[in-house]
Point group: C2
Chain length 121, copies 2
């Protein structure tokens, strides 16, 4: 099992607006809702207690993260899930897959025993 490539910095820059968008529970819920079906701004906002402008701001951040697309329909603006960047985030996380099974046990063991008294410099 070859070591997974370390994510590079510029790749991380690209992912920053994605992880930022995912950091808020309201935005995550919006994503789940839009996964079921596209919805206008008013429809999305109606599912939350907060004001519509607050929801609009969340939608803007989701758009900055490239997680949703917006299509005008008459006087409405329909928001659609755009899962591509979710996939990118998922792939970033998959970098750690190797450690879930492979290295985790080793590292844990290392710290809890030998590592604790070796490594003098």
């Amino acid at each position: 099992m070859p070591a997974a490539a370390t994510p590079r910095k510029d790749e991380d820059d690209r992912l920053q607006p994605v992880f930022r968008a995912l950091a808020d529970p309201t935005r995550r819920r919006i994503l789940r809702d839009l996964a079921r079906e596209p919805a206008s701004i008013a429809e999305v906002a109606s599912r939350f207690e907060m004001s519509r402008p607050a929801v609009v701001k969340h939608l803007a951040i989701l758009r900055e993260g490239g997680l949703i697309a917006v299509a005008p329909r008459g006087r409405e603006r329909i928001n659609v899930l755009k899962p591509d960047n979710l996939k990118s985030a998922s792939q970033w996380l998959s970098f750690f897959d190797a450690f879930w099974d492979d290295k985790l046990a080793k590292l844990k063991h290392a710290v809890e025993t030998d590592y604790a008294r070796s490594k003098k410099r």
Copy 2:
């Protein structure tokens, strides 16, 4: 392919500190570094331009997210990657797997064509 279960709210609560921890590029870099090998606070801080207390705060947030564990070794505190919650975040994202291939095309098509003029209420 059965529809993936919708993530529940309390599950999302549990994931909040994880996504919060992942939202900062410094913290993501720390995770990558610790994936290579455990390190003391001083060692981690030495890799960044910012002050040590700033790094300590980031480590605290990573700990709150359950993404790292800390083991004292003499006067040092060794930080170790704890990937379990990364896996949880990864699984949350995998909820959208279905849409990457299955529904995406449909939704896109729906919005761009028929959806645009149907759905009167």
